[in-house]
Point group: C2
Chain length 425, copies 2
């Protein structure tokens, strides 16, 4: 538990020898652990298999819609009702789509780029546009902006949400800022839950852009590791109350409730935004897979059923996240070379090394068989200005593997940190 | 069987009285038949329900991929193999996607609008662009162009495909023409099958636009009413042979093989186009619903199994299409006021009235309880220059209903035609 920064070169070198031996031992075991993505484990996916028990005869909706056939652009009525309950909005403020909420976000932004959004100053593609990007954040959000030529402005992420002082200042001055990416609950990768005050300020702030939108990726709304999910102020309500009803674009999916590649996604927004979305969606497609929606509704039923189901996920997830904390605490606690988050839900732990160490840590961990999300991924343009953030995704590997991978990661952090300290000495 | 155009006003008026009586009798029955879209009937959808027999335990691909989890942007390997066989291309020339091939086409064009296509002169959205539109054609194709600001040039559709003389002349002269919509087999709505010569000319022709693309919507590749599907020259092969490998963009789906709203779609193209598509798709989504792909592959298996399955569809479809021909022949044959196609497969029959009658026929048919696709739908901008084309979609209603609807349609055509002839007299 000694702060490594207080040790002299000799002590550091001695430590380094022990660590190298541990590292080589790991390497000799020929591990191949993939911790690059937040994937549910097979045990979690098993929880939803009963959804298919009656699939062969399960094709009529409660009002008699044949879910095998065309139609229903906005989703099955009972699926809209379930997601309305899930997101705390009215049924006609919901669109239920296909398997990917990421695709729904991408497609919303593509529509904004080509056509512009309601109340806006024309297509986003015809002027300079920028998004605010609280970071560390979700690499796939940033990739969408990069692909579509939308500039990105990094924003610090605090324990209660993004740096609202900075945000209010920027959006008031710069009409090119048309959006912000938010994962408001159990944020990827930090586990942050936005406070009511932050949500209120996001809803109320005055923006120079008349068509400013909050992309509210509420992917982990019910994904606590223990007990009730953290409360989160309803963004759509807050935006309506603040006189900015079109500002909120809310996304959710069952990717991490049922099946990661084969769940159901949904979007919630004002009726104006919903109408605008459906007008364009109706050109793109005839409608979503209603059979999958029907199976999901009959399996997930209502919020109490969903919460009971999520408790079963939590029973699998919590020991893994506990192991991350335990191993990191034992190996790195008090050593002054890393700090990390301790989320109450979600899929990730965010760890910061000393400045300039993350790339090297991830490289040598990979050489010993543990693949982590590439350094920089949690920042716009994959550039972590301090090269220190590492996203830990412990959900997929088995419990033992998580423990092993965390120990190896800690050894790698120690090794790289010591090298850094020795170089600085 | 008398040509109505040879009758005098008195004879026409007498006929009109009889027809009005028949029309009023229909109207009194309070029918509500929807023939607006090419939807499979419930009996057809039942054919694929056995796909779900093992859904609860069916989640591992043949190579052990867990189809419940993330990954596999280009589709499940065995699904790619099946569609490669279906479309006559190599496995790495195929992307297997979600439920909607229309969405795949829309998204391809959106990518072209925003980013441009390989070998192209930049984003389509930054210059004047036009598509050639053989018509009568598919309204949803035309709607995509209209939404995205791509001009449409109507092209006559003959028995063996579109007017190639006109096409060759236009594409050679006008570099704004970057695409053509084709439904090459059992075309919507005429049932046309493109001849080998037409396919060859499409592949070989010189185009002023370096990035000209053929959007080859092969939705009805195996959808014959009896016996083997009609042969169709392989467009990708023809384009490769002609030195235009990037020209072919081929789409297909199981919407009318398994489930109309919940099938699997695929795209085939050169490796250059596939790589380009995947690069952008990888930003939009993590991957398609592989569980649905797996179920489809295990159910449809190979081409002999697909053809045997389609024979069961044909057994349901043929009597309905026979009824359309029988009733139209009996009621309108030799009367000189309408002609119609007699497709060997697909989902539609195309009927032309005398000029200027289609809108009124569809209006009075709806008043008597039979809804047809709105007049003009089969032309760009919903404008049928001669107001004569009616799309007949007999797949969804029951056999008796098809017969009734066709009789009513014939009565409506006769009534409106007689009024027209009387007005001209």
């Amino acid at each position: 538990m000694t702060d490594l920064r207080t040790l002299d070169a000799g002590a550091l070198r001695a430590l380094r020898q022990d660590l190298l031996a541990r590292y080589d031992a790991f390497r000799a075991r020929g591990l191949t652990l993939d911790m690059t993505r937040g994937k549910p484990s097979p045990e979690q996916l098993d929880l939803s298999l009963p959804m298919f028990a009656n699939a062969e005869t399960q094709y009529l909706s409660e009002s008699g819609i044949d879910c095998r056939n065309y139609g229903g652009l906005d989703g099955l009525p009972e699926a809209k009702r379930l997601f309305a309950e899930y997101l705390g909005v009215a049924t006609d403020e919901v669109i239920v789509g296909g398997a990917s909420s990421l695709a729904m976000m991408y497609e919303t932004i593509v529509r904004a780029v080509i056509f512009g959004v309601p109340g806006g100053a024309g297509p986003w593609g015809q002027r300079e546009t920028k998004f605010l990007c609280p970071c560390p954040g979700y690499d796939r959000h940033f990739a969408i902006c990069e692909e579509l030529g939308i500039g990105m402005v990094p924003i610090a992420l605090y324990d209660d949400g993004p740096d609202m002082d900075a945000i209010e200042d920027l959006v008031a001055r710069d009409s090119a800022i048309v959006g912000i990416w938010c994962v408001p609950k159990y944020s990827n990768p930090t586990g942050t839950v936005y406070s009511d005050a932050v949500v209120e300020r996001l809803a109320r702030m005055e923006t120079a852009a008349p068509d400013f939108r909050i992309f509210w990726d509420n992917s982990y709304a019910v994904h606590s590791f223990e007990g009730e999910p953290a409360p989160l102020r309803n963004l759509l309500e807050a935006c309506v109350a603040a006189g900015h009803p079109e500002r909120a674009l809310i996304y959710a999916s069952t990717a991490k409730i049922t099946f990661a590649g084969a769940g159901v996604s949904a979007m919630a927004a004002s009726r104006v935004n919903v109408t605008w979305s459906l007008r364009h969606m109706g050109i793109q497609t005839i409608g979503p897979d209603k059979l999958n929606q029907l199976r999901h509704v009959q399996f997930l039923r209502d919020m109490p059923t969903i919460l009971a189901h999520m408790a079963r996920h939590a029973a699998i997830m919590k020991p893994k996240f506990d192991a991350v904390q335990t191993v990191l605490g034992q190996e790195l606690g008090g050593k002054g070379i890393a700090h990390w988050t301790n989320p109450a839900g979600g899929y990730f732990v965010s760890l910061d090394t000393m400045d300039g160490c993350a790339t090297e840590v991830i490289r040598i961990a990979a050489e010993a068989g543990v693949r982590l999300t590439p350094a920089g991924s949690t920042f716009p343009y994959r550039r972590d200005p301090r090269d220190r953030n590492i996203r830990i995704a412990p959900s997929f590997p088995a419990q033992k593997e998580v423990e092993m991978a965390m120990e190896l990661l800690a050894v790698c952090i120690l090794l790289v940190s010591i090298d850094r300290l020795l170089a600085q000495a």
